[in-house]
């Protein structure tokens, strides 16, 4: 059994910031467990700039922000376990963690949950038709393009105009792909104005409001979708070879489901609430950590 005072689950922006601020506050028995190979959570795959204005006074790219977090982590003696899956958390203040070649129990005094969020997938949407290859969530596409350097398709349709949808639309355009349109069910884009200007306007990507996908066509690979105008009810078939689902994030709290609200458990970052800006997630994570330690 591994013992620590503080177990932090997830080494994204919120998790690292929380762990580092706890260490600075004098808590020197910290285990930071994370699923990924490199620290930073989703940041390393966000090649675009726009992170860190509040914290660092300038716009950084995701990898630059992640590098700063990683440096701050290295200046501590926090025990950092990458490529580690936290399998379960129990009322007895123990967790089970799994790594290559090792399964361990971890005993802790306090737990900071920083597990981020997961994306809503097409399965959760009322979209009929087939489920062929060529349908990705925005984050999944971002990982495949930016980190794995893969070519996902040529004619891209994007469902959802949140920040993720707009940013992936620009990414595909920069890759030389044809973004047919971004579809948005509301009458206004749902992400930040900054992203609308930089991605949709600057790349001249068509955006269609009050429109949604009702059906997917194709066996093997997706060959098109039926879209519906929510005002007029009018339907239209649009050919495409790739469909990106960018319809929102769900806080990932499965590990603590059923635990209730024990006094040793704190949540930071996107598993607490979905933040638009990483700086706010970080600031609040640090605040919550200080509170957690003072109790």
């Amino acid at each position: 059994m591994i013992h620590c005072e503080l177990l932090v689950v997830g080494a994204g922006a919120a998790g690292i910031s929380a762990a580092v601020s706890a260490w600075k506050a004098g808590c020197h028995s910290i285990l930071l467990a994370d699923r990924a190979v490199q620290p930073g959570g989703i940041l390393p795959q966000c090649l675009h700039e726009g992170f860190g204005i509040a914290t660092f006074g300038k716009e950084l790219t995701g990898p630059e922000y992640a590098a700063k977090l990683s440096e701050s982590l290295q200046r501590t003696d926090i025990l950092y376990y990458p490529e580690t899956e936290v399998l379960s958390i129990a009322h007895e203040k123990t967790a089970v963690i799994s790594r290559r070649g090792a399964l361990d129990q971890v005993g802790f005094e306090k737990l900071l949950l920083a597990t981020g969020s997961r994306e809503k997938t097409i399965g959760a949407l009322p979209i009929a038709g087939t489920r062929p290859a060529g349908i990705f969530t925005a984050g999944q596409a971002q990982e495949r393009i930016n980190l794995l350097h893969q070519d996902l398709g040529q004619n891209i349709l994007i469902l959802g105009s949140g920040d993720l949808g707009m940013i992936i639309a620009r990414r595909f355009t920069l890759e030389g792909k044809h973004v047919i349109a971004v579809l948005e069910q509301n009458a206004h884009y749902s992400g930040m104005a900054r992203n609308y200007h930089r991605c949709i306007e600057a790349c001249r990507i068509p955006i269609r409001f009050r429109t949604t996908v009702t059906e997917v066509h194709g066996t093997g690979r997706i060959c098109g979708v039926t879209i519906r105008n929510l005002e007029t009810g009018e339907r239209e078939q649009i050919p495409c070879d790739t469909l990106i689902i960018a319809v929102g994030l769900i806080p990932e709290r499965e590990l603590v489901r059923g635990l209730g609200d024990p006094d040793w458990l704190y949540s930071v970052g996107n598993c607490r609430q979905i933040y638009d800006i990483v700086d706010s997630a970080v600031a609040e994570a640090e605040q919550i950590t200080r509170k957690a330690l003072s109790l």
Binding site: R99, R100, G101, E119, A128, Q140, Q150, Q154, T219
Partner: protein, 480 residues
């Protein structure tokens, strides 16, 4: 030309079980499957129920087989190391017409000797399933009903057949059959083959396969149905199979607790459909009826929808079919045409039936070294901490979690590939990866990479499921 004793056309669940049972005789056996893997057609998507046997006309082979198969199911699943959940079922009536149907099924069930069958009052049924909508009249309780994962069972039977010496020929679509002296020649897309006997288990194509040589007395009219799957985290959920019997002739609804712990709702029936596409009306029907039957069920927990096809057999002369349509148009040629519900329940029985007939015609001796046992891929999820720790210590790959929703490790994925998975869905069918709440959006990348690495091909050659379903088109590094 390759020569074998018995050729099975189609590697769905029936073909796999026929192969398994043919291995009980000293025969050389081969499954000819058109696709790249087994159980990719109708065996891949259906209601997953092991029926108790009250639905069928007493005295028919179908009634007799279903009751016998149900009683044997636990043993079968132990032999093949496949999970089986004997959760029981409630057929539900909310009106007088449906009461009559239940009464008829009850009497039929008694005649068929279905064990434990009971007609319950509404009060009794609400005790068992408190979530049921108010207004219930009666319920027919069948404690012997259960659920099984259809593709897991089929794959298990196939592995067991191969273990006992059967050949599995993939990508071998049968294009023509000729009658020759002492047997048949099967022309496939990858060469011809001589077989002394044939069992046609081609599912949706079974009538057209028989037509290559003899005209069948039934044709297949497929029915499609749409289903929804709820995440495991949805609570509360009913713990038994629920079958809502409609008051007027029309659509019912089935609610199925799966062996994986999720809840499946469906189907909405549509006749004469031949593709696996769901429809808007079908999906909203399932939602609406689910809400009507279980008003407190949290339908925001839907993680997947899918369509299933059923090969409905229709007699060409219009007469009614009460039992399985099994045809024997020529010596050592058997066709299982249009085996719909309860084909999953009876897969082992039907496979045994067909193989016994063929073996007798071919004059085969029993194979006394037949081994009915098969081991599933070792899953870590069900293990205790100590067991899992020991396994991870001995085999480091068991420590690397690939699918975080369903807790599936790298070792399991590698074993699935070793056992024949060549696609992302092939891995899914063998290990459960991608079946959870994120629907593979976090593990698909890792699985395509592992498939590419083990199979020695670029990732752009890895399909999602079948031909022309490659997930990525290439990598920037491919051209460097």
């Amino acid at each position: 030309m390759e020569q074998i004793d018995a050729a099975i056309i189609g590697g769905g669940i029936l073909g796999c079980f026929t192969a398994r049972n043919l291995c009980r005789w000293k025969l050389s056996v081969a499954i000819l499957e058109a696709r790249e893997d087994v159980c990719t057609g109708i065996s891949r998507a259906n209601t997953a129920i092991v029926y108790p046997g009250y639905d069928h006309v007493p005295g028919t082979l179908k009634a007799e087989m279903t009751v016998r198969a149900n009683a044997y199911f636990q043993t079968l699943c132990e032999e093949l190391d496949v999970p089986f959940l004997r959760c029981g079922s409630l057929m539900l009536s909310y009106g007088e017409q449906a009461d009559k149907v239940l009464q008829k099924k009850y009497l039929q069930g008694l005649q068929n000797q279905v064990p434990g069958l009971k007609l319950l009052s509404a009060e009794e049924a609400y005790v068992l399933e408190p979530m049921l909508a108010p207004g219930l009249h009666t319920a027919l309780y069948a404690p012997s009903a259960g659920t099984v994962n259809p593709w897991q069972l089929g794959i298990a039977a196939c592995e067991n057949a191969v273990h006992n010496g059967a050949h599995l020929f993939l990508n071998r679509k049968v294009e023509a059959i000729h009658k020759v002296d002492g047997g048949y020649v099967l022309e496939t897309e990858n060469g011809s083959l001589f077989a002394r006997g044939i069992v046609n288990c081609a599912g949706l194509d079974s009538a057209s396969v028989q037509e290559m040589l003899f005209s069948p007395s039934v044709r297949i009219v497929p029915t499609a149905g749409d289903y929804l799957v709820l995440d495991k985290s949805v609570a509360p959920v009913p713990s038994r199979i629920l079958q809502y019997e409609p008051e007027q002739k029309g659509k019912g609804l089935t609610v199925v607790p799966t062996v994986e712990g999720s809840l499946m709702l469906g189907p909405s029936d549509r006749e004469n459909e031949i593709d696996y596409a769901t429809t808007e009306t079908g999906l909203s029907f399932v939602r609406e009826y689910s809400h009507r039957l279980l008003p407190d069920l949290d339908l925001t927990g839907v993680i997947r929808s899918f369509a299933a096809l059923r090969p409905n057999p229709q007699r060409t002369d219009g007469s009614r079919i009460n039992s399985f349509s099994i045809e024997h148009p020529a010596p050592a040629f058997w066709s299982l045409i249009g085996i719909k519900t309860p084909g999953l329940t009876c897969a082992q029985e039907l496979g045994f039936y067909a193989s016994r007939k063929v073996a007798a015609e071919l004059g085969a001796e029993p194979n006394l070294s037949f081994d009915p046992l098969r081991k599933n891929i070792q899953s870590v999820h069900s293990l205790s901490f100590e067991e899992r720790k020991a396994l991870v210590g001995n085999f480091p790959d068991y420590g690397e979690v690939v699918c975080c929703c369903e807790d599936v490790t790298k070792a399991e994925v590698l074993e699935a590939i070793h056992r024949g998975a060549v696609s992302v869905d092939g891995v899914k069918r063998r290990t459960g990866t991608g079946m959870g709440r994120c629907q593979g959006s976090r593990c698909e990348q890792k699985i395509t990479a592992l498939l590419a690495e083990v199979l020695g091909v670029p990732e752009s050659a890895i399909p999602k499921d079948g031909k022309k379903s490659e997930i990525v088109w290439g990598s920037r590094y491919d051209t460097l």
